[in-house]
């Protein structure tokens, strides 16, 4: 029995001008990544990573995302990430937060990271209603993509 090894890369998207929300969904993100891999590593790189590549999670509130790729093609993605300056039509850069072998570990890390984000953001909110709203939006997880 051969196990398929995946790598999960947790990234943060840092826009050029600080904004609260980004209009980025997982589709635009994966398109942008694949385009850039083709730009820097050519057709060979694209062919290597295309199988098994998927954006598993993308939260535009906290600007974090999880990218899944095969263990073999991981280098091709992680080396392209720092060179990207344009995601969709937004000027932004990537910041690698964590690279894990299982999505659970990645999840744990992201939750920890989001809790830190909440601590920071909560102080700026005025009403309790807004606070609850924010909490809901930040901590929402739907991984079944």
């Amino acid at each position: 029995m051969v196990r398929i090894k995946n790598r999960y890369i947790a990234v943060q998207i840092v826009p050029y001008t600080p904004t609260n929300t980004l209009r980025i969904n997982d589709h635009t993100l994966s398109k942008c990544l694949l385009q850039n891999v083709e730009k820097y590593h050519g057709v060979y790189g694209l062919g290597l990573i295309e199988n098994g590549f998927r954006v598993k999670y993308c939260n535009d509130r906290t600007k974090t995302a999880i990218i899944r790729c095969l263990h073999r093609g991981q280098k091709f993605i992680s080396s392209v990430l720092p060179l990207i300056t344009l995601i969709g039509d937004v000027r932004a850069k990537f910041r690698t937060l964590y690279i894990g072998a299982t999505i659970i570990q990645c999840n744990k890390f992201i939750i920890k990271h989001q809790k830190q984000f909440l601590d920071k953001a909560m102080g700026q909110m005025a009403s309790a209603k807004e606070r609850q709203d924010l909490f809901k939006r930040v901590m929402e997880f739907d991984m079944d993509r």
Binding site: S79, P82, L83, T85, K93, T96
Partner: protein, 315 residues
Amino acid sequence: MLEDHFCASLAALVARGQLKTENKSEMEQTNPFYDFSIIYNKDDKVMRALLNELVELGYKTIAIEQSFDHSKKEPGKRGSEMFPEPHKIEHLRKEFQGKLRILQRLTILYVDVNVSHAMSVSLNLRKFNLIAGQPKTDAALTHCCTTFNGDLVTFDPVAGSRLLVNRKAYQIAVRRGMFFEIKYAPAIADSNNRKDMIKIAQNYCTKGKSKNIIFSSGAVHEFQLRGPYDVANLAFIFGLSEDQGKNAVDRNCRQLFLKAESRRLGKTIMFVRGNGPIVFSDSSEAEDDHEMEDLQTELNETSENNQPNKRLKVH
């Protein structure tokens, strides 16, 4: 004689509880990660934004870069000071105390070997933590690798210099403990520069297995900065292995820093620094500084005072 005198004054100071001795491995504490090329900007606002971003990304030790074109100076002024004073960044240092360690670095652009004479007589050079050489011709590059009295060899990323280091010079430079710099910010901004940087980096790989390489940013805007792990990942493109990539932002930089310190101070075994007496009242920082100054003058005085005493004892 001199050693005796040093030990005696040291012992006296330690006995008075004013000194903390550190051994060399702890001397001049620096923490990973390192970014040895942040280009200086006159505007404090830009500088602050850059430094804040660096803190956010997890850098702990950085160097602010200042360039100096040696070839443009007229040769008439000989023997006098050629190199500029370092910029005044004390207020930034104070602001980021505890978060960032800010060093200063001078990059010397040069064409001919006359620069080494100017460097040997210069006093201003001692005020910089790091000295980098940026050769413009092939002869200068060979000189830079073999006899240049600096710590770092760098390349002009924008003009796309067509210089490639040859194997022998590279090996000698590695043996001398020189480091080679690869800047990533220009590579992010423009595809032509990217090609040049990849060419230079891959050249190191073919000529000598990419030894003694450090990555630094060379950023002028905070958007061009990347996190240390992202930079380490760039190693794949630049032909370095994973380990070498990680070391290029971490261990190699520490080595470079220690080498630069030893060039500045001469042979050093022990590093002694006054820690100041303990103050119980809630004194502000300004007062602390005065105390440090007082202590330093006191130090000087005691060492001067001790000399005659010691002589008396010996004779």
